[in-house]
């Protein structure tokens, strides 16, 4: 057995030490990691015989030493005070490799043996025990869901994730999402993605003239089946800087994939490519919608001039706020297809919902219908009705764009040193 087959688990609690372990040549690092003693125990239980690298940043390591059955627990320490396990000041990959060669592989190395740890449960397995056992939770059969987020450095972070939610089905969220995306894409140097998260009433494909194209979920499902979805294959480009991820359209096999972890994966991937990510949500709350609402920096609550619609939205916001899914500070009220009447005024709705008014988009059914049948954003039409709608959507767009264009806070170097070097 070669040194390269030694399975190691990184759970030092310190990102840079975890990273250092990646540079070691004598170990094969498991991809999952953690940051607490509980995580370390979970890793040990999942992987069985392995070297479990922990560190002082985890805090009290006693439970790990006592309960990490089967794993060799090695504490990486550095600094003026030497600790048990592998020590160096600073620690280097070579030092760790030497420790592994000497202690685990019985090879001669430049280091003196570290004192054997007296703690109960500490066990150095024989080299013959190093073959990793099967994970406790083997992959389930059936559809394979997205792998771990595996992007490069998070480049971020000026992006804006905007969720469109609220009201009843048919309140015009998708039309607004398309119009808003079109307007945003006209801003210089930005990329926009509109994501259809309506499981059953997916309409972005139709509204953007993409209904004849292969649905995005064909590519996503195929990619997931291969174990490596490629988001780029699933994007449908409306313009060079505006893409749409079309919906599941109620297909059961795709609905099964459209879950909260998938959403997190999607957003993480989209954040690497787009400046604005617009999520067109289902009106009904569920795990997926809640996750999207949590992720969004801005939630546009879209309400039409319909009293039951307003009541439903009021109830939904209250429940979401109670459950910490949403707070009103992130929300803006968008009155869509709006007709001002004495019975239901914009001010009354805003006050009743407890939301600041973000925009008021007038009703212009002819323009909206014409745009939908042509598969284009209503913002591209030039009829008077379309212009009025565009004006309202521009009001909403400015609210989103302003948030991104805001200046970064000034840096105050004096306090920096006080905070970081005290």
């Amino acid at each position: 057995m070669t040194a390269a087959t030694l399975l190691a688990l990184a759970c030092t609690g310190d990102p840079l030490l975890d990273g250092l372990l990646k540079q070691c040549r004598t170990i094969r690092l498991a991809s999952d990691t953690g940051e607490t003693p509980e995580d370390a125990l979970r890793l040990a239980a999942t992987h069985g015989p392995a070297i479990l690298f922990v560190g002082p940043a985890l805090g009290d390591l006693t439970p790990v030493y006592q309960q990490a059955a089967g794993a060799t627990v090695v504490c990486l320490t550095e600094g003026p005070t030497a600790g048990d396990g592998c020590h160096g000041n600073p620690l280097t990959a070579d030092l760790i490799d030497n420790w592994v060669r000497q202690r685990m592989l019985g090879e001669a190395a430049g280091l003196q043996p570290a004192p054997k740890k007296p703690t109960a449960g500490f066990k150095v397995p024989a080299i013959s025990e190093q073959t990793p056992k099967q994970p406790a939770n083997p992959p389930a059969t059936g559809p394979v869901l997205p792998p771990a987020v595996s992007h490069g450095p998070v480049s971020v972070l000026r992006q804006r994730i905007v969720a469109l939610w609220g009201g009843k089905p048919g309140s015009g969220r998708s039309t607004l999402a398309v119009g808003l995306s079109d307007l945003l894409s006209q801003l210089g140097g930005v990329k926009v993605c509109t994501v259809d998260l309506n499981p059953y009433n997916s309409s972005l494909a139709v509204l953007t003239g993409k209904e004849q194209e292969v649905p995005s979920w064909v590519n996503l499902a195929e990619g997931l089946g291969r174990g490596g979805p490629n988001l780029s294959e699933a994007l449908r480009w409306v313009k060079p800087n505006w893409a749409v991820l079309t919906g599941t359209d109620g297909r059961p096999d795709w609905l099964e994939l459209l879950q909260e972890p998938t959403l997190h994966w999607l957003i993480a991937e989209l954040r690497n490519q787009f400046d604005y990510i617009l999520l067109d949500l289902d009106t009904r709350r569920g795990a997926l919608t809640d996750a999207a609402l949590r992720c969004a920096q801005t939630v546009m609550v879209v309400v039409s001039p319909d009293y039951p619609d307003v009541l439903d939205t009021h109830r939904a916001i209250g429940t979401a706020a109670d459950r910490h899914v949403l707070d009103r500070g992130r929300c803006r009220l968008i009155l869509n297809r709006w007709v001002e009447t004495p019975s239901l005024s914009a001010g009354t709705v805003s006050e009743f919902l407890g939301l600041p008014l973000g925009a008021r988009i007038p009703a212009a059914p002819e323009a909206v219908i014409e745009a939908a049948t042509q598969g284009m954003p209503v913002t591209r039409l030039t009829t008077p009705g379309a212009k009025a709608v565009t004006q309202g959507m521009t009001q909403a767009m400015h609210f989103v764009a302003e948030a991104v264009a805001g200046p970064a806070p000034a840096r105050t170097g004096g306090l920096l040193s006080g905070l970081f070097h005290r």
Binding site: G13, D14, P15, L16, L17, D18, G19, S31, D32, T33, G34, E35, T36, P37, D39, G55, P56, A57, G59, E78, P139, A140, L145, P146, P147, A148, V149, S150, G152, P153, V154, V156, R158, Q159, I161, Q259, E260, P261, T262, I267, A268, R271, A291, R294, C295, A296, Q297, H324, L326, D327, G329, R330, G406, P407, A408, P409, R411, T412, L419, F420
Partner: protein, 146 residues
Amino acid sequence: MNVLETRTWRIVSFGNTSSADARIYIAVIPDHLHRACQLVLPILEDQRVDHRYAKEPTLLDTYSGADWWAGKAIIADPHPDQWESLVAELDRCLVGQGLEGPAVIAGARPYGGQSGLLFSRREAKAADAAQSGDSRRQRLTQLLGQ
């Protein structure tokens, strides 16, 4: 108050028996780490909450490529009894400060407050527990947590 410096963190401990399951993350971009610390650390110290933060903004850049750690700038380990009030206070102090951070971090859920910068391990754990009957979801959660 005990302070431990590691390669990445300045770890402040008050000797509490806090549970890592109640862990709160403040996720900000490197440029905003300093300001976030200015706002958050006095609260954590006043309430004697064990916490840690990246020692330098450049470190946040350095480990942003590690999926598990990306974005985790300040980490607080309150006692479960403190959790509700602390997270609300942190959210209040961070809102309106022009701070930005990632929308998703590994192993935690957005708290959902006004600032959008707070994440909770507690809620992620609860969600995991709720899904324990579904092995496929469990595996997916594991994958995304890596």
